[in-house]
Assembly symmetry: C2
Homo-oligomer: 311 residues x 2
């Protein structure tokens, strides 16, 4: 099986060499444009592919992406309608994300930024200690990652609310919301808002002035979805007014973030460079193998997204 490596932003071979080496006996990775093997290529590994990328491969059956979200592949104009798009479902990634999000929630809860400022100013002053029970955390998106995040947050005493497009069964210690009305109802009780949603036409711009205005005053945003979920001007206004006390941003509409962007030096913004959590080598290798096996058998690969729905 030949697998084309297709990205205009990442060198996938150097990034995921370990995974590709481990399965080289079964899957031969070829760099795009793989002109010498164009007809043999039946699958691809892709991240932000060039617009015309998939036109080169007449026998393409499936495209695996390298993250939990498939939007970057689905948006490619040359993706033929019959091709399956596969995302990586990785418990190790969910675990890393849970730790990352927990850290930002506690950063807000325990006012660690204030402690750092006090140390710098040589001020010895204890701060109000807020019990986790008083800091409600709402998850936008309750898939495999959201479920793991919720488990860890509830174990530490935080009340967790979860919003999804459609109603889902939830453990007894979570409160679930769905649909547009459910979103506003939930936000009225939300102090920390965590965005884990897939990017779809319905979720684009969902982090906007209406959402921030609906939250508890002094709330906090943790944005680990996609940059396009956020209306940046609305976030800046909410930070300015104090409606939000701060934001942790891992994803941006333009990445790398342009040098002249205000986020770089905004005192209420904690930035990370789209680095919350990679998928693991093992999970990527397993996904590629399962996809190749399915393609060879003429079957639908596991974790292929609903292309209509977008995730």
């Amino acid at each position: 099986m030949h697998c084309a490596l297709v990205s205009r932003t990442l060198d996938l071979r150097s990034y995921f060499g370990k995974a590709l080496d481990g399965i080289a006996e079964h899957i031969q990775a070829v760099d795009h444009p793989a002109d010498d093997h164009a007809e043999q290529v039946q699958m691809a590994l892709a991240w932000h592919p060039p617009a015309d990328a998939f036109a080169s491969y007449p026998n393409l059956k499936a495209v695996c992406t390298i993250g939990a979200g498939a939007d970057n592949v689905l948006a490619c104009p040359s993706l033929p309608p019959h091709v399956d798009v596969v995302r990586v479902v990785d418990p190790a990634q969910a675990e890393m994300m849970a730790g990352f999000i927990l850290w930002h929630v506690i950063w807000h809860q325990r006012r660690f930024a204030s402690f750092m400022a006090q140390q710098k100013a040589k001020i010895w002053k204890r701060l109000d200690q807020r019990r986790p029970q008083t800091v409600s955390v709402a998850l936008l998106g309750y898939g495999q990652i959201g479920q793991r995040v919720a488990e860890e947050l509830t174990a530490l005493g935080f009340p967790v609310l979860a919003w999804s497009r459609t109603q889902k069964p939830l453990p007894a210690n979570l409160r679930g919301f769905h649909g547009r009305d459910g979103l506003l109802t939930m936000l009225a009780e939300t102090e920390v808002l965590v965005n884990l949603l897939p990017l779809t036409p319905e979720t684009r711009g969902i982090l906007n002035r209406d959402a921030f205005a609906a939250m508890r005053p002094g709330g906090y945003l943790i944005q680990v979805g996609r940059g396009e979920h956020l209306v940046e001007a609305d976030l800046l206004a909410a930070l300015q007014s104090g409606q939000l006390s701060g934001a942790s941003l891992d994803v941006f509409a333009v990445e790398p973030l342009p040098q002249d962007h205000v986020f770089w030096h905004h005192p209420q913004v904690f930035m990370t460079p789209h680095d919350a959590c990679d998928i693991s080598v093992d999970a990527l290798a397993a996904t590629l193998m399962a996809t190749a096996t399915a393609v060879q058998a003429g079957e639908r690969p596991p974790h292929a997204v609903d292309r209509q729905r977008g995730y």
Copy 2:
């Protein structure tokens, strides 16, 4: 029942007013020196009492302290040998401590200090993502708080080692060590060292050059025990040499930390002002009530420490 409030460092009445108000019907709090009620005082609430404090109360039966460690009361020269010293055992405090420690472990694991430095310098650069499985965390002390900390760390994927003075039964996913030999064996596998020990003659100065030298190079110290556990010069040397990459310190030999102390502006030290976690109002009120009840019945109060052992 009269209860004397005794501290040379804290205004206990303003700090714990809510707890005292809630039980005022049963326990009358009087400020030390309570000359008018000296003979009626049968119990005290104390934190770093003056050296001669307890000589004033001929009928004193029990002293409650306001934290998990009783060393501050046990060290008082005027504490009569027959008086019980009671510490507060508080699940809410253990929960807060678990969140606090988890935060510092992930601060080290995910290199958030580097992310902050990069943001300040407008550098977009992803960092190596270390899985929690590769970051071993050792707990010095495995009492009620240590157990809760271990639960949360293991749930997030960190390997946890636990050291206690004597052998204790442990859950299957923890590795236990005890005694002086066990300490060095454990440290050889330790990246993050968390000090939760009570302060006793045996544990004073336990965080010293030998301990740091035994740890994995580039390790990290989280110090939430007592300031006297740490040999400060040895920590500074270990940070200087790179044997330790950093330290989070919540407790200090002298508090408040003197203005000219090097910790204030040390780039590898994250300081908090003895603020990791207070006991809760509810737990303090419950402890005072249980102590009063036991004193009235002529019994030993719950959670009285072994004065010989020191905790």
